[in-house]
């Protein structure tokens, strides 16, 4: 989740109040943002992904100001019509079909404001814009552009311009191959025959979204007074929301915003449009979910505290709010306004009967037997190492491998338990013997389930001491199976991890449920163990089915 660093002075000026630090900390966390750090100069907060509108000083302050009662309800913005046009060509259809645009004038920029604008743009790109895939934002000094603007798709070789921070004019393909930013975002245009491009009335290239702006007209500086802003992508509503988040922030900086006419091939649109969206709210439903007893007046107050308007059962949703899909989203904001700290706890009297999982209970009974025998339970990871499960055990198996583990040591799901236990023995060679251990854990192999992976719970038991042998480990296995009153047979069957002639398979009701034997010294030496080990591995899932 993104963390933004806000200028505390700018923030305090915007909310028109200086709060004591403790109060500030408390309110920041109770509005639904995670405070990371606060100093005299800066406030670092983590903004949850549902509130991209709070990623700027202005957006954050706007929400905060109503929350602490410094303002209430919808913020009003005056948007004039510029009458200027953006022509959107249908060649963009399969490339990047939509844009939402605006003109902003009377910017009184300083270094701080430029930093703020860059931060809004960057944070929106990363979060709501999904790394420019969903939304790419361009801001251009209007002074260097001749209106109207055309947005269309062109062949890469026809798109020739000097990219931002580039040395010379190159074509679009070269940008994707050579320019750092071009290389970084090239995947977003992969497979496209034509690339999107904004041109002005003089046919000058503004940018090639979502990749890069032009060096000439794509950069705002201290002299910039007026800008043209565009958001491009695949869903008009999403772009319009992003645009609204930016222009409301700029308006809060003191600039004036003007709308533009977007001439699509089949329709006309005017952006930005800050008319609030309306949603019905059911007061009974609100009170039912929250366990509150709010009246219409309190509902209105709480909504206004969160920057909404409210008229007769309808909520007016600010045009920069991207997270209101259902009235439950409003209910959460009502709860925040009401104060999460003000909900008292209630234990309801709901008659239900507790029911433990029967397999888990069975597992507990079996492991209790081992504890009674003086065995120590270990707890190892299900994610382990392929070599370790197979090669080191002198054994071949098709384990379930992970596609993308960030650690080479942990690349596969556990196929069987004994290697995990041998690992524990190997890391405890300096500890007192005997070391008699057990663990019931999940093992994985291919099988006919919904996912194609079959999971079983297996019990591994090891005896590690001077005189560990077949008899000793068989006695333990026999004891468990006899307690369960299971009829079983012991069949000689060699296994490469065990000493030849000292390994057996346990069969019950036609199912093979366990291996038991003395571990092959070759395996012990692979684990650098110098104490004999006798072990068994019992399939508890299978066993449970047999005795059920």
């Amino acid at each position: 989740m993104p963390t933004v660093t806000l200028n505390r002075k700018v923030f305090e000026k915007l909310i028109e109040k200086k709060l004591p630090i403790e109060k500030l900390k408390d309110r920041i966390s109770m509005i639904g943002t995670d405070l990371e750090d606060i100093t005299d100069e800066e406030i670092s907060v983590e903004i949850f992904p549902n509130r991209p509108d709070m990623l700027s000083e202005q957006g954050f302050a706007r929400a905060f100001k109503t929350f602490i009662g410094q303002a209430k309800g919808l913020s009003k913005y005056d948007i004039k019509s510029s009458g200027e046009k953006v022509i959107i060509d249908k060649s963009l259809q399969d490339v990047r079909p939509f844009t939402a645009c605006a003109i902003v004038r009377n910017l009184d920029l300083d270094d701080e404001k430029i930093r703020e604008i860059i931060q809004i743009q960057e944070k929106l790109h990363v979060t709501y814009g999904r790394n420019r895939k969903k939304v790419a934002i361009g801001i251009y000094p209007l002074e260097k552009i001749k209106l109207p603007i055309t947005f269309k798709a062109e062949k890469p070789e026809d798109i020739i311009f000097q990219p931002l921070e580039g040395e010379k004019e190159i074509d679009a393909n070269e940008i994707l191959e050579q320019h750092d930013t071009g290389k970084k975002y090239a995947h977003l245009l992969e497979g496209k025959k034509k690339f999107p491009v904004f041109r002005d009335a003089n046919n000058k290239i503004l940018s090639m979204p979502p990749i890069i702006n032009s060096h000439d007209v794509g950069k705002v500086d201290l002299n910039t007074k007026e800008v043209f802003i565009e958001c491009s992508g695949f869903d008009f509503d999403v772009l319009h929301l992003a645009l609204n988040m930016i222009i409301t922030a700029l308006a809060d900086m003191g600039a004036s915003v003007e709308s533009m006419i977007l001439e699509y091939s089949d329709k006309k649109k005017i952006t930005p449009d800050l008319t609030p969206r309306k949603m019905k709210i059911d007061l009974d439903y609100v009170n039912k979910i929250l366990g509150t007893n709010l009246g219409d007046k309190e509902l209105k107050e709480n909504l206004e505290k969160m920057g909404y308007g409210y008229e007769k059962g309808e909520v007016l949703i600010p045009a920069y709010r991207a997270d209101i899909l259902h009235q439950v989203d409003l209910i959460e904001d009502i709860a925040i306004a009401f104060g999460y700290e003000n909900f008292e706890e209630i234990i309801p009297n709901v008659a239900t009967t507790g029911q433990a999982n029967s397999f888990e209970q069975f597992k507990e009974k079996v492991t209790n037997i081992l504890v009674g025998l003086g065995y120590l339970e270990t707890k190892t990871y299900c994610i382990t190492n392929h070599q370790h499960q197979t090669y080191q055990m002198n054994f071949n198996a098709e384990t379930i491998k992970l596609a993308n583990s960030i650690s080479e040591e942990f690349d596969t799901l556990r196929y069987w338990m004994i290697p995990s236990l041998l690992d524990v023995l190997a890391s405890n060679k300096h500890q007192e013997y005997p070391q008699n251990l057990f663990e019931a854990g999940q093992v994985f192999k291919k099988g006919g389930t919904e996912t194609g992976v079959l999971e079983n719970s297996r019990l591994g038991v090891v005896i590690c001491q001077n005189d560990a042998d077949y008899t000793k480990i068989r006695q333990v296995l026999d004891l468990i199976l006899n307690f369960l009153e299971l009829k079983y047979e012991v069949v000689k069957e060699d296994h490469p991890s065990f000493i030849k002639g000292r390994c057996a398979r346990i069969k019950a009701k036609g199912k093979k449920i366990a291996y038991v034997g003395e571990i092959n010294p070759k395996v012990l030496s692979n684990f650098e163990l110098d104490m004999p080990v006798a072990a068994f591995e019992l399939n508890l899932t299978e066993l449970f089915k047999l005795i059920d």
Binding site: G291, E360, T378
Partner: protein
Amino acid sequence: MVDIKTLHNLERKTLPLIKEGILLSVLIDKSDLKDVEVMRAIQWLENKKLLSTKEEVSVKYELTSKGAESKEKGLPEKRFLKAIKDKRKQQTELNSELKKQGLSELSPPEMGVSIGLLKKNGFVNVINDKGTFFEITKEGEKANFDQLEKLLSNPIEDKEAIQRGLIQKVTRKDKIITITKELSTLQKDAKNYTSNTVDRLTPEMLKSGKWKDVEFREYDVEVNVPKINVGRKHFVNKSIEYMKRIWLDLGFTEMSGDMVQTIFWDLDTLFVPQDHPARQMQDTFYIKDPKSGKLPDLFKKVKEVHENGGDTGSTGWGGKWSKDEASQNMLRTHTTVLSAQYLEKIKNGEYKMPAKFFSVNKVFRNEALDWKHLFEFNQVEGIVVDPNANLKHLKGYLKEFFGKMGFTDVRMRPAHFPYTEPSVEVDVYNPRKKTWVELGGAGIFRPEVTKTLIGVEVPVLAWGLGMERIIVEYFGFKDLRDLYNNKLNLLREMKEWMK
């Protein structure tokens, strides 16, 4: 004042032999007891502050096994000279001559050593005359071995004898004993003390009734006894059992299910948008093979809800929902996947509302192991499916649970999860550290989730708490990895889960 009666037999037997300044080794020599028994007795007496010991390093010279052999059989070179005293002899004739004289034969190594030494000292001449003969010289006749023989009977430092491997330097750690007045008194008491105290009660004594005639030595019951090792459950599992118990007592049913799931169940049924950042590779472990699984028919409904809200009254996320994307196999990132599956069981009629479910089980995140991150850990999951449930109940259940875990208060803060609305961050108050600690997420499932899975819109309270973070402080760890390093001494000695 120590009573003679409380002394162990070993102590009592050793007592008369102890003198001021005596060495432990000397005491051992004098005693009829075994070395370890004397050492134990002295240790016990020292524990009772009846004497004190000081470590002393003593250097002694002793015969080596070779030296002892030479002492017993006579020096090999001396025997060699005796064999050729009267007449020069070939090497092969020497041993029969010695036998005749009633002396020990020379072994091949002794033979070699003797020849070398005797030649070096000019005690023999080697004559080649149809064979090799050894002849004693004038010096040889006068040769005197007294000094060396004296060393063998009373070993002291001697360069030559050490070089020949007859004598060795032995450094021994010993203890010098200093006695107390109390010990002297006890020694006097011991002289007059005759008893038939016994150490152990035996079955024979019980059968014969002899126990009536004996007195049992009194123990020093305050002394430390050696540790023993036991069989035990893993301490984390014990705390998991305890947590399960809490939920069972509160009327919750335990959920179970697979760790490998399709993304569909883990995220899509929970209305997590397909382009949500949490789905990216770095957070989730995907399965290489089988890469994808099969989806239940439910996917059609889930697709609709994602794209346009379906019949849930929501706008949905918009865009296209991809079945291929949802079919990928992964390791569950939360046990909320089980909650989703159990909600569907209500629709199937397997369970009835109101229903409460829980699980305490493993989840996986593709993160590097460090002190506060594990790639495999446990989540305490719970849902309450109750038409009358509300946010206050959620806080109630959490407070009840955490109260039983030793945390006095619970606080809710706003949070965000794609599948709950309202979403809650759960902080608990740690009365020992006097701070609030973040221990999990909670909320009420969105209608997009419940309507789709249950078929009707019912508020479902839900929580997913970090199990390890709840218990790590109890066991005194800072590093989460320590919970699963399986050090046996730790598993054997770890304090009990006493909640």
